[in-house]
């Protein structure tokens, strides 16, 4: 037991040490606002496996030239060695003096992939080829692009999300092996970008808490008098109750379905999604998930809904802005405000 703890401790400390060493060696920085310029101090370069092989080749050529006293062989050997040096310079130049700019990242639901936009701007006079980009934690880069002289290129880097709240863009590694592949030059960048992750909508949530008593037993009484919003079409719904205007707005390709106008009895109160009304015995995240699902359901049915969570109290409304505000409140509920990398 104790030894296991010790080993985890040493593991953790060695990891910490390694991270510190990397920080110092590669000058890893915290997030840098705005556009970032890749100065020569930010570009690192090392020979690739092919480069090491090339070194071995040059050595073999040198030995053969010496043994057989080949003047022209020496010329070839030194020309190739010098070409490797030139390639090192070209590889470095292919990466240095680029400008990097983070773009917007759209909100997403937990479990989806966040799409971080990254713009590479080339204000120099030479085209940059075969620039590989990905998050530093990924082993083999997935994205590649060319940036012509005086032009820019945008990449969408996707990172998985797991929990609600702010998701900061992970550290990005930009690398290139162009032109000969003997050297790899790379650069790290912590973009100042974050994506808002909404809670995961509960897949099989109870129906919307429709006012007053209905919320207690989970059933509403269908009436004929007051328009109470729309709901999914159910076989048997009268044709004159079809919500044609909403049907026209929904795209069947995006999972749109027939909806029916929903009339309720005269005594139904307005729909209020109150976080405090959920049983506190439920897990916090589950409650947030349920609230998320209800917000989405209410939006789908175009039911105006009020929304209460903690200090946030939104008056009944419906629409994209209202939904975004509610989901944002859910995402950031009791969030310390720290941004997870």
């Amino acid at each position: 037991m104790a030894s296991a703890r010790l080993s985890t401790l040493t593991q953790a400390s060695s990891q910490l040490l390694r991270r510190q060493a990397e920080r110092w060696l590669f000058r890893l920085k915290e997030t840098e606002p705005g556009e970032v310029f890749l100065t020569r101090r930010r570009v690192f370069i090392l020979p690739t496996g092919a480069g090491v092989g090339f070194g071995a080749l040059v050595l073999v050529l040198l030995v053969a030239s010496t043994n057989y006293n080949l003047g022209l062989g020496f010329a070839l050997t030194f020309a190739l060695a010098a070409c490797a040096v030139v390639d090192m310079y070209y590889t470095y130049r292919n990466l240095v003096h680029l400008h990097l700019r983070p773009g917007r990242a759209h909100p997403l639901f937990a479990g989806e992939d966040a799409q971080f936009e990254l713009t590479i701007i080339n204000r120099s006079a030479s085209a940059r080829y075969a620039l590989w980009a990905d998050f530093a934690s990924v082993d083999t880069a997935r994205y590649v692009t060319d940036v012509m002289a005086g032009s820019d290129a945008a990449l969408l880097l996707s990172a998985p999300s797991s929990e609600r709240g702010w998701l900061a863009a992970p550290r990005v590694k930009l690398s290139t092996r162009f032109p000969l592949g003997l050297f790899v030059a790379w650069s790290y960048w912590q973009p100042d970008a974050r994506a808002l992750v909404y809670p995961f909508p509960e897949p099989s949530a109870p129906p919307l808490p429709m006012g007053g008593t209905a919320s207690e037993d989970g059933h509403g009484t269908a009436g004929q008098d007051d328009f109470g919003g729309i709901r999914s079409y159910q076989p048997g719904d009268p044709l004159r109750h079809m919500a044609w205007r909403q049907i026209a707005r929904l795209d069947p390709a995006l999972g749109g379905q027939l909806v029916t106008k929903h009339f309720e009895g005269g005594n139904v109160a307005e729909l209020v999604l109150d976080f405090a009304a959920l049983p506190p015995t439920l897990d916090l995240e589950l409650r947030l998930s349920r609230m998320t699902r209800w917000v989405l359901d209410a939006e789908q049915r175009a039911l105006p809904y009020g929304f209460h969570i903690g200090a946030a109290r939104f008056a009944p409304s419906v629409g994209a802005a209202h939904q975004a505000a509610c989901l944002r409140a859910l995402a950031l509920y009791q969030d310390s405000g720290a941004v997870r990398p």
């Binding site: 556009e35 057989y68 010329a75 020309a79 060319d146 820019d152």
Partner: protein
Amino acid sequence: MKRSADQQAPHPAAALPQGRLARLQLTLSRDKSDTLLLLAATVLVLAPHALHLPLWVTLLCATTLAWRALITFRGTRMPPTLLLLPLAIAAMGGILLTFKTLLGREAGVAMVVLLVTFKLLEMHARRDLFVVIYLCFFVLLTNFFYSQSIGMGAMMCAAVVALLTAQLSFQYSGAVPPLLRRLGLAARTLALAAPLAVALFLLFPRVQGPLWGMPGDAGAGRTGLSNSMAPGNIASLAESSEIAFRVKFQGQRPAQSQLYWRGVVLSEFDGRTWTQPPRRDWRATADTLVTHGQPVNYQVTLEPHREQWLFALDMPTARPRMPNMGSWMTGSMELRAGIGIERRVRYDAQSHPSYTLDGGATLPRRERWLALPGGFNPVATSAGLQLRSEPDPAKRVNAVLAMFRRDGFSYTMQPPLLAANTVDDFLYRTKAGFCEHYASAFVFLMRAAGVPARVVTGYQGGEHNPVDDFVTVRQSDAHAWAEVWLGQRGWVRVDPTAAIAPERIERNLQQALPDQYDLPGMEGMISLGERNPWLARLRFQLSAFSNGWDQWVLSYDQQRRSSVLEGVKDALGNWRTAGAIAALCLLLAAAGALQRRRRQDPVEALYGALGTILGRHGMTRGPGEGPNAWAARVAGSTLAASKKEAALRFLQLYSAHKYGPDASAPGLVSTLKKLLNGTR
């Protein structure tokens, strides 16, 4: 940077999250041209080997390459390893059968060539591509075993560019520029590498090879002087225009007729062939040399001839310093290297054209230089005995030379065959011969007449190139002459050929021979050159270039490297040169910095400076914050009034310049500069 609406949209294909898939599709569409380029580069590297490889290897390689090209064109699958492996093993067996070994240079080259071609059929991953290209570089080097001519050097440059192009073509992942642009990039890489390569070539320490025993087949057959002389030996050598050695004189060049390059001294005669004295006698005699006048200093670059002798002008005064092999001098004033000359060597030598060798009343081991085989050449022997009536040995020499001049002797490269008594047959029947006939007959007569005499073989003359001031001595300059011992005057050189064909000594062999005996292979060059001065000039230029190639590329060694280093030290050692170079570097760096600054938009630079200044007051421009939003924030801040006003005005002007419809106002930069100072 102004951004306009029609600015290029981001690359849609590259931005796809399925980057790997996109890359795969791009590689497939490009694969054909890239592979064909690689094939072309391989053919360029392999082609020169066709000259010396066994025919079946050449044919097999050609078939394999054609097969690979067909696969590429038709886009079919590569052959499976199960098919390739037996093929490769069969090829190895073929090499074993042909060369009787798998080791050694020739067999090794054949194997590497086959390996490259088979590897082309077994290319699956990117790593295989690198393997093929690296193998090609190695095959390129093996070409130099057979030829290191200037043409081969040019071919090397072309092959390196082609291989680099193939290598970099595989590195593109999106847009691929046209072939010409890629070739240009590879050529630019090589051109940029050239200065560094030259510096490495000149300064990299050279270890004198071989590192391990050279395989027996390393040196091809060479022509050159042999250690014996029989009638016809030198005449056959004279047909070769191969270079024997090159000489660079320091200071005055001696007259053409003085250029006797001493090689081998022959003393033993068996009636037909002259040979060297027994080896134990080489160092035995203690010859005394007295020199007069000024020495001649020169450097000889000797082509490999597999023998030990070195050549020096009559009369060398000291043995040359030979790196890694040592050297010594025999009693007959011949220079010898410690080991056979297997590669081009360079040595400094000193000679005195005016000398007295072994002058005195007596000659040690006199009988050696008088020995004659018994029973041969009775007529010549009796003629020599008759000469003894003349008391002065010098007059006996002149009598024989006068006989050569008088009695209808002629100089020819194709003398008639001689019978067993070679000297008698030549002197009294054929009367036509080359230098060795005259030298042989003369020494025989002298010995018969009681004058110590010996045959010396070597080279005479050489062609002076006015372009690089080198004297080139070819095999066709091979010559044989005689030395006689004349008491107080010591050993005196006598060239009987000069008595028959003085032009041979004054100019060169070509003029000495009648027209019908043009030297094969040289007639076009020399006779044309003699007639047309422009062509002669061109020929000298080419020859000087070829000599420079030999001197600086092919036989650049540790010795030459240290002399280059000394030259560099001399040139850079004084502070004036070093200071000039440092000043030049500084100037270049300053110019570069200035250009870099100029390239940046001055307005943007000032905008950046404003950001730094306002940042000190806690108003860093936020990401994506425009000048107007920033200005609003500045306006609401607690900045001092004058500073705030300047900053706001700056931002207003900047905004108008950047996003306004009109062209920027004149003097904007200076106004902004003033406002910027106001915010400080």
